[in-house]
C-alpha cells in the first residue's frame, strides 16, 4: 500500500503533451480517498486552476530581494561589479547602477561593498493562490502565477512548493512547466518520482529523451504516460525499454477528451474509462519509486561490504 506522504511531479520536455490534463485528473481521483495538494508550478502559463471552481482563494504576494545602491555612500570603486556573476551591476559615472532584470538577489554585492552603499529591496514577482475547490473532497490547489515580464520562474516555483508544504501531508501532485531548464528542475527536484507525459510523435520522443536525461541526472524514479495514444506511430515503448522507464499507461487520442479539456472540465467526470485507468497511475508511480530506492539501498549496502 502507498505510504501517507508521496510527491509526484508531472513533467515533459515538450509543451502541450497533456501535463495539466493528467495532473488535474490524478489530483481529483486521489482526493476521493485522502488529502491531496495539487501545485501548479507552470508559473508562466498556469492552467490547472481553470479546471476547478472554488468559493474562496487566499492570495499571498511573492517577492525576491534585489540589489540597491545608496548613491551618497557609493564611491564607485567597482567591487560590486567584480563580484556579480550576472552582469547586473555597472559603474556609470560616479556611482554603481543595478539592472533589476539581471539581478539574482544573491546578496554578493551588499556583502562585498566596502562603503556599505549596496543594499537590498524586496521586489514583487507574482502571486501564490491557495484554494479549496468545491465538491472535490480533500483537495487543495496551490497556483503560482508569475507577473508577465518577470524572469524569476525558479523563485516563483520554489515559493509555490514551499506554500504547498504547509498544506501537505498526503499526496502532492506537481504540475511542472515544459522544458528541461532551471524552471523544470525547480519544479521536480526533491519529488519522490516524476511522471513524464509524452505523445507518440517524433517531436514527443525527441523531447521525452531530454526529459528522461534530466530525470536520470537528478536521480529521480521515472515512469512514462503516453497521451494521445494512436495519434502517431512513433515507438515510445521501445525507447522506454532501452531506458528502463516503465510505461504506466496510455490516454487514447479521442476528440471528446480534447473537447472536455477545451471546456475546462475534468475527464474523470465525463470519461469513466479514462478515470478508471488513471486511478492506477499514482500507485504505479509509487511502486516505481519504492523499487528504485530499494535498489539504491541494496547497491549502497553492497558497496559498503566490498
Amino acid at each position: 500500500m502507498r505510504a501517507e506522504e508521496f510527491t509526484l511531479a508531472v513533467a515533459s520536455g515538450k509543451g502541450g503533451t497533456g501535463k495539466t490534463l493528467v495532473a488535474t485528473n490524478l489530483a481529483a481521483i486521489g482526493a476521493r480517498s485522502g488529502p491531496v495538494v495539487l501545485v501548479d508550478c507552470d508559473v508562466e502559463a498556469p492552467n490547472a486552476h481553470l479546471f476547478f471552481e472554488a468559493d474562496r482563494r487566499d492570495t499571498v504576494e511573492v517577492t525576491v530581494p534585489r540589489a540597491t545602491v545608496d548613491a551618497d555612500a557609493c564611491g564607485a570603486c567597482g567591487t560590486c561589479v567584480s563580484v556579480c556573476e550576472f552582469g547586473a551591476v555597472r559603474v556609470l559615472g560616479e556611482q554603481a547602477i543595478v539592472f533589476d532584470e539581471l539581478c539574482h538577489g544573491c546578496g554578493s554585492c551588499s556583502h562585498a561593498c566596502p562603503s556599505h552603499a549596496m543594499g537590498e529591496k524586496e521586489m514583487r514577482v507574482g502571486d501564490i493562490d491557495v484554494s479549496v475547490p468545491r465538491g472535490m473532497g480533500a483537495l487543495t490547489v496551490v497556483t503560482g502565477t508569475m507577473d508577465v515580464g518577470q524572469t524569476t520562474a525558479p523563485a516563483m516555483i520554489r515559493a509555490a512548493r514551499k506554500r504547498a508544504e504547509d498544506h501537505g501531508g498526503g499526496l502532492t501532485i506537481i504540475d511542472a512547466p515544459p522544458g528541461v531548464s532551471c524552471s523544470a528542475v525547480a519544479a521536480v527536484h526533491g519529488a519522490d518520482a516524476v511522471l513524464l507525459v509524452t505523445e507518440p510523435t517524433v517531436f514527443g520522443l525527441h523531447d521525452l529523451r531530454l526529459a528522461a536525461e534530466l530525470a536520470r541526472e537528478l536521480g529521480l524514479p521515472a515512469g512514462v504516460l503516453v497521451n494521445r495514444a494512436g495519434s502517431g506511430s512513433t515507438d515510445i515503448e521501445r525507447f522506454c525499454d532501452e531506458w528502463d522507464m516503465p510505461v504506466v499507461g496510455h490516454v487514447p487520442f479521442e476528440k471528446s477528451i480534447a473537447e472536455t479539456y477545451a471546456k475546462g472540465e475534468l475527464v474523470v467526470g465525463t470519461h469513466p474509462d479514462v478515470a478508471e485507468w488513471l486511478g492506477y497511475v499514482t500507485d504505479a508511480m509509487w511502486s516505481i519509486a519504492e523499487t528504485q530506492s530499494y535498489r539504491a539501498a541494496a547497491r549502497q549496502t553492497a558497496g559498503a561490504r566490498s
Binding site: A45, N47, F203
Partner: protein, 300 residues
C-alpha cells in the same frame, strides 16, 4: 530584413508546425533564415529536415565547489547561500562535510566571499550547444540546452544573433523565430526587438488564458501581435472564446487552421525515418496557411 516570432503561452499549440509551414510557403519567393528559440526542446530542425553543419559550445553558469581539505566546517557558506544550495552532513569519521547541490546553485559569488578559509571556488560549466545548419530554403540556427541549465534566455539570444548574422550575409529578407512556450525569460529573449508576433493558440480555456498573458508580454515589449487559431474545429465553445478575446483586445485573428489529419499523417512519416518536408510543402499552399502567409508577407 524583417524578424517575425511565432510563439504561444501554452505549449503544444502548433508553433513549430506552423513555423515550418510558413517557411515552406516562402520557398522560391522570400529568402528565409530560421531560428528555433525553443532551446529546451528544439523540434524545428526535425520538421524542415535540416542538416547540421556547425556546433559551438555554449558557456553556462558557474557552480560552487567546496574543497573538503581546506574547509574548516564553520558553516558560513550555508548561512550565506540564498538559494538553499549548501547543506551539510556528518561523515562516518564525525567530520561535518559541506556540499553544494549543483541543481540549486545559481553560480553567484556569495559563498566564495563568505568563506573565511578560501575553501569555496566557482567552476565554469558547459550549458549546451549553439547549432547551425541548412534546410531547403537556407540557414537555420538552433540551440540545445544541457538538461537542468539556467541561462536559456541567453542561449536564445545567441541563437537569434547567429540567425541574424547568417541572414545578413546571405541577403535574406526574413528571419522566422520559432519561440518557446511560456512568457518567461526565454520567451522575452525570443520576442524582444522582433517586428511582429504571431501568437498561436488553440480553442480551449487554457489556450485563451495563456494567449492573454502572451499578448500582455508583447504589448509590454512594444511588439505588434496577430493571432492564429490552430486546431480551430476541436471545440466550438473554445473557438468562440478566442474570437471574443481577439475582439475585446482589438487583435487581428489572421487565420483559423482546422485540425488536419493529413498534417498529422505527414508529420508521422518521420516516425519511420521519412521526411515530413515534402508533404508539408503541399499543405503549405492550403487556404489557412495562405492567410497566415499574407499576414507575414505584408510585413516584408
Amino acid at each position: 530584413m524583417t524578424t517575425i516570432a511565432i510563439a504561444s503561452g501554452k505549449g503544444g499549440t502548433g508553433k513549430t508546425t506552423l513555423t515550418a509551414l510558413i517557411a515552406l510557403r516562402a520557398l522560391g519567393e522570400v529568402k528565409t533564415v530560421l531560428a528555433d528559440a525553443d532551446v529546451e526542446a528544439s523540434n524545428l530542425p526535425l520538421a524542415v529536415d535540416a542538416h547540421e553543419s556547425m556546433r559551438m559550445a555554449f558557456q553556462g553558469k558557474s557552480t560552487a565547489r567546496i574543497d573538503p581539505l581546506t574547509c574548516t566546517e564553520c558553516g558560513a557558506c550555508e548561512t550565506a547561500c540564498r538559494f538553499g544550495a549548501v547543506s551539510s552532513r556528518v561523515t562516518d569519521s564525525d567530520a561535518r562535510r559541506y556540499v553544494v547541490d549543483p541543481w540549486m546553485c545559481e553560480g553567484c559569488t556569495r559563498c566564495t566571499l563568505s568563506c573565511p578559509s578560501g575553501a569555496v571556488s566557482l567552476e565554469k560549466g558547459r550549458a549546451g550547444s549553439i547549432c547551425f545548419g541548412e534546410w531547403e530554403g537556407g540557414g537555420i540556427a538552433w540551440g540545445a540546452l544541457a538538461p537542468g541549465e539556467d541561462l536559456s534566455g541567453k542561449l536564445v539570444t545567441e541563437v537569434r544573433t547567429l540567425a541574424w548574422t547568417s541572414a545578413t550575409e546571405a541577403w535574406s529578407d526574413l528571419v522566422l523565430v520559432d519561440g518557446p512556450p511560456g512568457v518567461g525569460c526565454p520567451t522575452i529573449a525570443a520576442l524582444a526587438d522582433t517586428d511582429l508576433l504571431i501568437a498561436v493558440t488553440e480553442p480551449s480555456v487554457s489556450g485563451a488564458h495563456d494567449l492573454e498573458r502572451l499578448l500582455d508580454l508583447a504589448a509590454s515589449l512594444g511588439v505588434p501581435a496577430k493571432v492564429v487559431l490552430n486546431k480551430a474545429d476541436l471545440s466550438a465553445d473554445g473557438a468562440a472564446r478566442i474570437h471574443s478575446l481577439c475582439e475585446r483586445r482589438d487583435v487581428e485573428l489572421v487565420a483559423e487552421v482546422p485540425f488536419d489529419t493529413a498534417l498529422a499523417a505527414t508529420l508521422d512519416t518521420m516516425s519511420t525515418g521519412g521526411h515530413a518536408a515534402p508533404g508539408l510543402r503541399d499543405i503549405a499552399t492550403s487556404p489557412p496557411v495562405e492567410a497566415l502567409w499574407e499576414a507575414v508577407a505584408c510585413r516584408l
